[in-house]
């Protein structure tokens, strides 16, 4: 089964830039009768991947190019996100983990660092690699058939 491109655009320094790709992805998942919980997970994970663009790219560049490809099977929803942003620092994704919050006084609580850890928790598979000038991010979400409604 081939990948289907569902979104391709240049995104600029706009606080609402993620609305376009998010709406396209959610519409695609709805068309394929994706369970609501899976749609919720996909939305959150893609939001966190997009957040990385804002954090690390759009402050310094006028825009980056982004494409989203999808592969739908009865038991999985797979996404490829290609972007022209800078290379993600080596090990950043591999080492991402949920910050420790137990036994901490409020003043010491982390305000960030949850995003990539959430992606790793929610996605069945999450892979990143650099190909030339492109970041390639792969996300897979399982869709148990008995949960499809």
């Amino acid at each position: 089964m081939k990948w289907t491109r569902i979104y391709s655009a240049q995104i600029g320094a706009n606080a609402n830039f993620a609305n376009g790709p998010r709406d396209v992805v959610i519409r695609c998942l709805a068309d394929k009768e994706t369970p609501p919980l899976v749609t919720q997970d996909v939305e959150l994970c893609l939001a966190e991947v997009f957040n990385n663009f804002i954090e690390h790219e759009l402050e310094e560049r006028p825009y980056i190019e982004i494409s989203i490809f999808v592969k739908i099977t009865p038991t999985a929803r797979r996404f490829l996100v290609l972007d022209t942003g800078r290379k993600v620092p080596s090990g950043a994704y591999r080492m991402a983990c949920m910050p420790e919050v137990d036994h901490q006084v409020p003043a010491d609580l982390p305000e960030g660092g949850f995003g990539l850890a959430l992606v790793k928790t929610l996605a069945e598979r999450f892979l990143y690699r650099r190909e030339g000038d492109l970041n390639v991010t792969f996300l897979e979400f399982c869709t148990p058939q008995n949960e499809q409604t």
């Binding site: 320094a13 919720q40 929610l122």
Partner: protein, 131 residues
């Protein structure tokens, strides 16, 4: 990280303010707290807090989606609030509650199902012990 992007001020959040039992009740009229509005949300909440009161509740019952930026904003509110004020979160949807649980923030915050139940819990905490 929060606090760096002036763009976020572009997204305003509508907040209704009420007071009950010496607590402020801040109801958010939005469906999302994400990167686009997280800083505005945090700034707006901190601006309206009245340190003369005992505490405040954030009624999130209309929020359907929160990402790590929104979560960070709520943590920042907890850290930046007047130290004399308690903070309670109420009305978390299943999706929002899941994010709090996965990040273990449900162990950090006082979370109540509804404003009414939060006020009742406060009643019990402040009632004199029967003798």
């Amino acid at each position: 990280m929060l606090g760096r992007r002036p763009l976020d001020r572009m997204v305003m959040m509508d907040i209704t303010l009420e007071t009950a039992q010496e607590r402020q009740i801040l109801t958010l009229h939005a469906t999302r707290i994400d990167t686009a509005g997280a800083i505005a949300f945090k700034d707006d909440v901190l601006t309206v807090l009245d340190a003369r009161l005992k505490g405040f509740m954030l009624d999130l019952s209309q929020i359907e989606f929160i990402d790590s930026s929104g979560l960070g904003a709520i943590v920042s509110i907890l850290k930046s609030r007047p130290s004399t004020m308690t903070m309670t979160l109420v009305g978390l949807s299943s999706g929002v509650e899941r994010v709090f649980r996965l990040t273990r923030m449900d162990r950090v915050f006082d979370i109540q199902p509804t404003v009414k139940e939060a006020l009742q819990a406060m009643d019990h905490q402040t009632s004199p012990v029967a003798t």
